[in-house]
């Protein structure tokens, strides 16, 4: 890059920072390091049932989301529709990436397995179950402790990458983690989310009474239907637990598909593209 262009870039950079700072100094981004907005205070005082009972009195049940984890209860209860359509965007992005690899599939058992040294392999074999257990714990306790479906899905998506790098792509395929199975589990997660959201609607149509979409506890005026807040004495926070579980499936297997595809050997992809895909579809 020539000297003039470098100077121009630096000046433009400074101008961007100055413009952003001006907006912040004029109050355009709200106060920094100062207090809490009233909407945030409302979420904090109604999401945990113990606090909601004190703040709202006996009528708290229709307004609380029955989860001490306020972030997860916003994600799946207060702003549930937002997350629902974010999941739709996620679905479309994955489908777009899979469509680029349409008709390209590496033949199984074509080359001997490669990978890193035996020490690394042994350690990895020990670590992968721990990774899966931690991810499942993050998902299933997402309504009680920091965590939830998105976090657990991202944590589990690391496991196929490690296996592909340390062992090989073939090792993963031989253990039964194929693109088809991953697509199946991802679709199962997405269908589960849709079902959990739509069951109140279906129930409402059948019984003729009111029910709320994306609200995990009953509301005033629609007392008849709600997901259970407690199951066998344990707090499961209504629909939040189910949505966390299904989002965990959708996110983790969605990224597993992407890494199964991006690790396909480039020569295979090129030969498939040149031959028009007919021979590749067989595999």
């Amino acid at each position: 890059m020539s000297g003039v262009r470098k100077v121009a870039s630096a000046v433009a950079l400074l101008a961007i920072v100055a413009a952003l700072s001006l907006g912040a100094a004029a109050g355009g981004m709200g106060p920094f390091f100062d207090g809490i907005r009233s909407l945030g205070a409302f979420y904090l005082s109604t999401a945990p049932p113990q606090i909601a009972e004190l703040v709202l009195g006996p009528s708290y049940r229709g307004l609380s989301s029955y989860s001490p984890e306020v972030v997860t209860s916003i994600v799946w209860d207060y702003r549930g529709l937002d997350t629902y359509f974010e999941t739709a965007v996620f679905f479309l992005a994955i489908i777009g990436a899979v469509a680029i690899y349409r008709g390209i599939e590496e033949p199984v058992l074509r080359r001997p397995a490669s990978g890193l040294s035996p020490i690394v392999r042994a350690v990895t074999k020990f670590l992968i179950p721990i990774n899966i257990a931690v991810a499942a714990s993050i998902a299933l306790h997402g309504h009680l402790t920091p965590g939830g479906g998105f976090q657990a899905g991202a944590a589990l998506a690391v496991a196929p990458i490690i296996v592909i790098v340390v062992f090989s792509r073939r090792y993963l395929l031989e253990r039964g983690v194929t693109k088809l199975k991953a697509l199946f589990f991802r679709s199962a997660g997405l269908i589960g989310i849709a079902l959990v959201v739509l069951i109140p609607v279906i129930w409402s149509v059948i019984s003729g009474e009111w029910a709320w979409v994306m609200q995990n506890q009953w509301k005033p005026g629609a007392e008849a239907f709600s997901y259970p807040a407690y199951l066998g004495g344990a707090l499961i926070s209504g629909s939040i637990w189910f949505l966390n579980l299904f989002e965990f499936l959708a996110v983790s297997f969605g990224f597993t598909i992407l890494f199964l595809l991006i690790s396909i050997d480039e020569d295979t992809v090129r030969s498939c593209m040149i031959r028009g895909g007919e021979e590749c579809d067989r595999y």
Partner: protein, 125 residues
């Protein structure tokens, strides 16, 4: 006399703006597609950090997870949970979209043989 606390707070905000500016500069000025993707992730991360910073309470903010302390203390000290909930989905969805961009870059390389946008611009036919 300079108030050191105000200085540090201003510095944190300005440094985050500066990082966002660096990311934007990389997206606009760098010619290589991979470098543009790296800059895009930096830009997205910094904007997310700014959103989280908007919800922070100083001094002594605690995470918005109720662990059995007195209710007044929890509501009076916990940070704003709303930016965290929005950023949480933004990170995962942003990752899916960025991976789609990586796939498109890979396909571009297969078709054109280069990822340098200046060279791609000159290609004909």
């Amino acid at each position: 006399m300079i108030d050191i606390e105000v200085f540090i707070k201003t510095f944190i905000v300005l440094a985050l703006f500066g990082t966002a500016g660096v990311g934007l500069y990389g997206v606009v000025a760098k010619p290589h597609a991979t470098k543009k993707i790296i800059s895009l992730t930096i830009l997205g991360d910094t904007v997310n950090a700014l959103a989280i910073l908007l919800g922070y309470r100083y001094p002594g903010g605690i995470p918005p997870v109720y662990t059995g302390q007195p209710p007044n203390e929890f509501v009076g000290r916990a940070v704003d949970p709303l930016p965290q909930a929005l950023v949480l989905t933004a990170i995962v969805i942003g990752m899916a979209v960025n991976l789609l961009i990586i796939y498109i870059a890979l396909q571009t390389y297969r078709l054109y043989g280069t990822l340098d946008t200046r060279l791609i611009k000159k290609l004909r036919g």
